[in-house]
């Protein structure tokens, strides 16, 4: 049993470590958000599963479960918000990015997001890729 | 760990005072918050830190059977934290209002009430 827990925990830790490395290595904010949200959630999820197994009682298990639930509920929303804010404040995409469909679709002041580019481009958030 | 904590507490106090000594309203608040944190940690440290059980009596037991952390400093800090929260919120708003009315962030320019009038 302990070995199983050990493996699960090790995996979890590795994911967390990966997220940390990713956070450093990724070249733009969006990629960092990407890496962060999941590796950590999965990593922490595994760690907590390990903890639940270790104590193996109902109260710990339920708490671990709830933490995982909360993380899964909140992390993507947070990522969405910070990613979107990032775009507003002008964080540019990595220069090797393939495309930016968002370009020109946010209205600068109302922050209304359109599905198509319309004829008021001067009002829209529009930035080039990173130099 | 005590040595590290003592240094950190010292650093919090130092940073707090240093920030208060700057001339900016925002830094003033940050300084106060840092000082508050320092004081809380100081109570924690001087109440003697231990890695025993949290001060929660285990299930199926009426008293502690193992070593436990002193609950008193914890309760004191809890009170202090909450009080600081009240004061800090007030401070933040005070600064916002002061900035709006006095129209400066420079504390050096807020000296009219000390002048003879």
């Amino acid at each position: 049993m302990n070995i199983l827990i050990g493996i699960i925990i090790t995996l979890g830790t590795l994911f967390v470590l990966l997220a940390a490395v990713g956070l450093i290595r990724m070249p733009d904010t969006y990629l960092r958000i990407s890496v962060n949200t999941k590796a950590a959630t999965l990593g922490i999820g595994l760690l907590l599963v390990g903890v639940a197994l270790y104590f193996y009682d109902l109260s710990t298990t339920s708490r671990a479960f709830i933490i995982i639930l909360f993380l899964f509920l909140t992390a993507p929303v947070g990522a969405h918000l910070i990613g979107r804010a990032s775009y507003f404040i002008g964080n540019k995409l990595w220069d090797q990015s393939k495309m930016d469909d968002l370009q020109g679709k946010y209205q600068r002041n109302s922050h209304i997001l359109k599905s198509e580019i319309d004829d008021t481009p001067e009002d829209n958030v529009d930035h080039e890729k990173m130099e | 760990m005590e040595i590290l904590l003592a240094i950190l507490i010292g650093l919090l106090y130092a940073a707090g005072i240093y920030m208060i000594l700057r001339r900016s309203l925002v830094k003033l608040i940050i300084g106060i918050i840092l000082l508050g944190n320092g004081a809380n940690l100081l109570i924690f440290l001087l109440g003697r830190i231990t890695k025993g059980l949290p001060p929660i009596i285990p299930e199926n037991s009426e008293v502690f059977t193992e070593a436990y952390a002193d609950p008193v400093p914890q309760a004191l800090i809890l009170t202090a934290i909450v009080i600081s929260f009240g004061l800090q919120s007030f401070a933040i708003i005070l600064v916002k209002r002061a900035h709006k009315v006095v129209r400066t962030d420079d504390l050096d320019e807020m000296n009219a009430t000390d002048e003879d009038s």
Binding site: - | I32, L45, P73, R97, T113
Partner: protein, 503 residues
């Protein structure tokens, strides 16, 4: 129920605050509740005072947990005296507020906060627990923050930023001191600490803790060089607020110093000397500060500092007679300073200014009011037999006995400079011809007020002036009281025994 009597004043103020909050938008109801409540509070405090006077020091264990484990409220003579004085000032200012504080301010919780402040003061005087004292201090400073900023005028906010910062700083230092003391002794109960601190072998650490307390409380008491927040802010809020501040806020710092230095850190020579030096500098700074001010309220603010010096000096001498003088002065000063800031309020209401240069003509136009104001003014100076005179006998006499000549010189200097300042103020504000101050449009002048409001301005001043006169002419009673308090303070074993159930 009788055995819990001593915390009734405290519970009652809390009750009042809560009730007042439920009447949030009903200003007139608030006025009635506050004034009526304050009268009851005076009655309660007076009864508690009487009870303690007759039966000696009382205590209540909150939560029924014995000291030093629970929080204990202790009513010795000093505590009940200050509680009574708080109630008296509270009543006066409550009435004065009804007349003088404008509607908009009342609509934003003036009265509940005012009673919270009184609650804080009452609690601070009654508690026997150091951390609990900290919490009471916090309620005092947060309510004073709110009161000092209420209305949010430019000057108020500027003053408030300084008031706020320095008071918070003091609180944090106080908290640091508690941490050190708890770390050394593992106790928070002041009576318990008395014994435990005495048993600590590392006296240097005890001294450091004492200094931390000195700085923390000293800032609240506004002693040199910690007083800066006071002249920067006390003249900015409405007069009613200044009145309660001027009367009681610094005094709670003095109270805490007295309590701590007579109970926990007893008889340290080094500290006594420091206190004495600080007292001299406090007196000097306050005196010369008041001398060069033009704003009436700023003059009073600096005089607060100056006179705090008396009390600190007496504490520094640390003899029973000196402490008697300190207590007498404390009693006198609370009444007079509260009164004087109300006076500044009425002056402002009449002429829409507090500048001595701009004011004048009061004696010609308001002779009876002037004579009324004469009482607190010259009580402050300590012209015998008015109230401020008596404690000087004890303080100067002990100054010679303890050979602290510089302190005596400082006390004499303070008396003299107060005389000069008040005489100057009298000449400027009351004697000098009235100057034409351009009328402020829509300013509600005193003469525009209806009779009720005028009464609400005058009655509290008369009330406190009568008390001041009583303190002066009935000095014997006050002296007996002060002497008993000093005796209790200097022989703290009785306090300790009461709290810790030793027999």
């Amino acid at each position: 129920m009788m055995q819990h009597l001593i915390i009734y004043p405290l519970l009652f103020q809390l009750f009042l605050s809560i009730v007042l909050m439920f009447f949030w938008n009903k200003i007139n109801a608030q006025k009635i509740i506050s004034i009526g409540g304050s009268i009851i509070a005076v009655a309660l405090s007076a009864y508690v005072f009487y009870f303690v006077w007759e039966n000696g020091t009382q205590k209540v264990n909150a939560g029924d947990w014995d000291a030093p484990y629970g929080i204990v409220f202790v009513a010795d003579t000093l505590a009940v005296t200050l509680v009574l004085l708080t109630a008296l000032s509270g009543l006066a200012v409550s009435v004065f507020s009804a007349g003088s504080v404008i509607k908009d301010r009342l609509r934003f919780g003036y009265y509940p906060i005012f009673h919270f402040l009184l609650l804080g003061l009452t609690g601070a005087f009654l508690t026997g627990d150091l951390f609990n004292l900290y919490v009471w201090f916090e309620i005092i400073i947060i309510s004073s923050f709110v009161l000092i900023t209420i209305g949010g005028e430019k000057a108020q906010l500027e003053g408030a930023v300084k008031y706020f910062t320095l008071n918070i700083l003091a609180s944090i230092i106080f908290l640091t001191a508690i941490a050190v003391l708890y770390g050394l002794t593992g106790s928070l109960n002041m009576a318990d600490l008395a014994g435990k601190v005495a048993a600590v072998e590392n006296r240097g650490l005890v001294e450091v803790a004492a200094i931390l307390f000195l700085v923390g409380f000293g800032t609240k008491a506004s002693i040199f060089p910690l007083y800066f927040w006071l002249p920067a802010s006390y003249h900015t809020p409405p007069a009613a607020v200044s009145a309660i501040f001027g009367g009681l806020l610094t005094k709670v710092g003095v109270y805490a110093l007295i309590r701590v230095f007579t109970l926990i850190f007893v008889g340290d020579v080094f500290l006594g000397e420091i206190l004495m030096v600080l007292a001299i500098l406090t007196i000097f700074s306050g005196g010369v500060g008041a001398l060069v001010q033009n704003n009436v309220r700023k003059v009073f603010s600096y005089l607060i500092i100056c006179h705090i010096g008396y009390m600190i000096a007496g504490l520094g001498m640390f003899t029973e007679v000196a402490i008697t003088g300190v207590i007498f002065y404390l009693i006198h000063d609370i009444m007079v300073k509260t009164n004087l800031f109300m006076v500044s309020g009425i002056i402002f209401k009449i002429k829409s200014s507090n500048s001595m240069r701009a004011l004048g003509g009061f004696y010609a136009n308001y002779p009876k009011l002037s004579l009324l104001i004469f009482i607190p003014l010259f009580s402050l100076v300590g012209i015998p037999p008015l109230s401020g005179f008596w404690p000087k006998i004890s303080l100067i006499g002990e100054g010679f006995k303890t050979e602290s000549y510089w302190t005596v010189a400082a006390i004499v200097f303070a008396s003299f400079i107060t005389l000069v300042i008040i005489a100057k103020l009298w000449a400027e504000v009351f004697w000098k011809d009235a100057k034409e101050i351009p009328e402020k449009p829509k300013f509600e002048y005193f003469s525009d007020l209806n009779k009720t409001k005028k009464t609400q301005f005058i009655v509290p001043i008369v009330f406190l002036s009568l008390i001041s006169l009583y303190i002066g002419f009935g000095a014997e009673h006050i002296q007996i009281l002060s002497a008993r308090i000093a005796n209790e303070l200097m022989n703290s074993q009785q306090y300790i025994d009461t709290v810790l159930n030793n027999s």
